[in-house]
């Protein structure tokens, strides 16, 4: 009995400091944001009285056209990069799934893009994607194509020339080079991550399963489709959730490339702009609450998976 009480005391004694700090740095700011979102708080009255405005800030957010455009761009960005990273990552994982010292050596260096400072990644690509003299366009013109205006909001010709829907894509779905560049950069930064996870999952599939499929007469692609992919399903779902969570956070690279230009804004840049440039804190807080609500649903989903422990040990 005495032992039980002392464990009870120990376990709360150890966890209390962390819980208190977390309350102060997460729950309190959240309640504070909620409070700000219901008041008119702008640059001028930041230190004086805040008039109560009810849900007006939320209505303002809903009426904000730039917000809807940024939201659409963000959703589109997330969907495109994740699908592309999963596809490319999977192909690369298949290529790298060999026993070779060289491949293992190269794998070590592929962790670099996912850990280096995102703002450095943005600036690095800003240099490489320049219209004149950028590394990418130098390569493109040396193999005989015309240089591409990567960092401008010019429409992507190939997509615009698709009959009927082409113009719609350009006008409403961001079929522009600047958006394409953002996508390419994110793919560069995160495909190795997706690839390395898929690779370790691939290698954890037992050889017997693969051999059994071969005995049954399956060819390489059949084996991939009927045996490997179903086994990778939990991994792919978790990658999908993780990449969504991370892609929602993207800010630094966009800001390094385009600043807060409204045409290239993702939702985070828009929040920053409302908060620090326009200084309409009430409206920014309302938008923050909405974003937080949406992302916490995604993380809840993720927690369900992760609570079972590592996917492949």
């Amino acid at each position: 009995m005495k032992n039980k009480i002392s464990i009870f005391l120990d376990k709360y004694k150890l966890i209390m400091p962390a819980v208190i700090v977390l309350l102060v740095v997460t729950v309190f700011p959240f309640i504070y944001t909620l409070n700000v979102s219901l008041h008119k708080v702008v640059g001028r009255n930041i230190r004086t009285k805040w008039p109560w405005v009810g849900l007006k800030n939320f209505i303002m957010v809903m009426k904000d056209k730039v917000m809807w455009n940024s939201l659409l761009r963000t959703i589109e960005f997330i969907l495109i990069v994740i699908v592309a990273e999963l596809l490319i990552g999977f192909l690369l994982a298949l290529i790298f799934d060999q026993e070779s010292k060289l491949l293992r050596f190269m794998r070590t260096f592929l962790i670099i893009p996912m850990v280096i400072t995102p703002v450095v990644v943005g600036l690095m690509w800003k240099a490489m994607l320049k219209l004149k003299g950028g590394l990418v366009n130098n390569v493109i013109s040396s193999i005989g194509f015309t240089p591409v205006p990567w960092l401008t909001s010019q429409p992507i010709e190939i997509i615009r020339n698709i009959p009927v829907i082409g113009q719609f894509f350009v006008n409403h779905l961001n079929a522009k080079f600047s958006f394409l560049s953002l996508i390419i950069i994110d793919i560069w930064q995160w495909t190795p991550f997706v690839m390395l996870i898929l690779l370790s999952s691939l290698q954890s599939i037992s050889q017997e399963v693969k051999e059994a499929a071969e005995v049954d007469g399956a060819n390489y692609w059949q084996k991939i489709y009927y045996v490997v992919l179903p086994l990778l399903k939990p991994t792919i779902i978790v990658i999908f959730l993780l990449r969504t969570i991370d892609a929602v956070k993207v800010f630094d690279t966009v800001y390094a490339l385009f600043g807060s230009a409204a045409e290239q804004r993702l939702l985070n840049v828009h929040v920053m702009n409302i908060a620090l440039r326009i200084r309409n804190y009430g409206q920014g807080a309302a938008l923050s609450i909405i974003i937080l609500f949406c992302t916490s649903m995604i993380s809840q989903w993720f927690v369900k998976f992760i609570n079972k422990g590592p996917i492949n040990e």
Partner: protein
Amino acid sequence: MSKYRLLGYLKKILIILLSILIFLIWIVPIIWLIYGSFLPSDSIARSDFGFALTLDNYREVFERTQVLKFLKNSVIVGFTATFLSALIGIPAAYSMARWNTGGSGLAFWILSSRMMPPAVSIIPFFLLFSKIGIVDTIFGLIIVHLTFGLAFVIWMSRVFIYEVPVEIEEAARVDGANLWTIISKITLPLARPGLIATMILNLIFSWNEYLFAFSLSLTEKSRTLPIVAGIFVTSYQIKWGPMFAAACIIMIPILVLALLVQRHIIGGLTMGAFK
């Protein structure tokens, strides 16, 4: 039979060539950034690989900006936030790993505070910090970094502590050791490699943080290193050389740290969902 072997060799060579090509796509930009930082600005602007290497870019970064101050700020913020996160987080992680304190509710809270987009806390931090007068201070930045670091350290250390066999602790308890002795003499030393990796990862994330460094720092007083590269990018002109040099100054420490903890990076970036 030998035809098959020949095909096998060809396939292998093809795969190696393909993987080298893929590898180059990912590694050339990094090498270009490092190499370019030793080239004059107009060579970079033309992507002209010359051999006229120079240290002028670095000299300009050191002369024109307060890079050393930013570096110092980054080091102070990164190390303090990581130290505090470990000091507060590791005991909590122990409690969660051994007794499942707080259950799944606490786990969810911690994980979701790690996963929220940082942009949503610009407004509360900015307003609260202005009220108590810690906008544009190192202290304010440390609090922000603690927000993200603490959740990360708790979550990751929990796994590493969980891996220490509970039987060893029981044995020590039977021998009369109290909780403090058990944790400091048995659990922590056994979980040390994982815990150190966690702290290094936290340091990397802290080092890379840009959004708050830029939105809470109004003057040069509390700016951290990632700000320095952007100084050479204005709407009038971009000074490529110094920008590349500044980017390298930001990036090189990360490369070193990352190679040290490479085995744990996937685990760290996926919050332990994968190893």
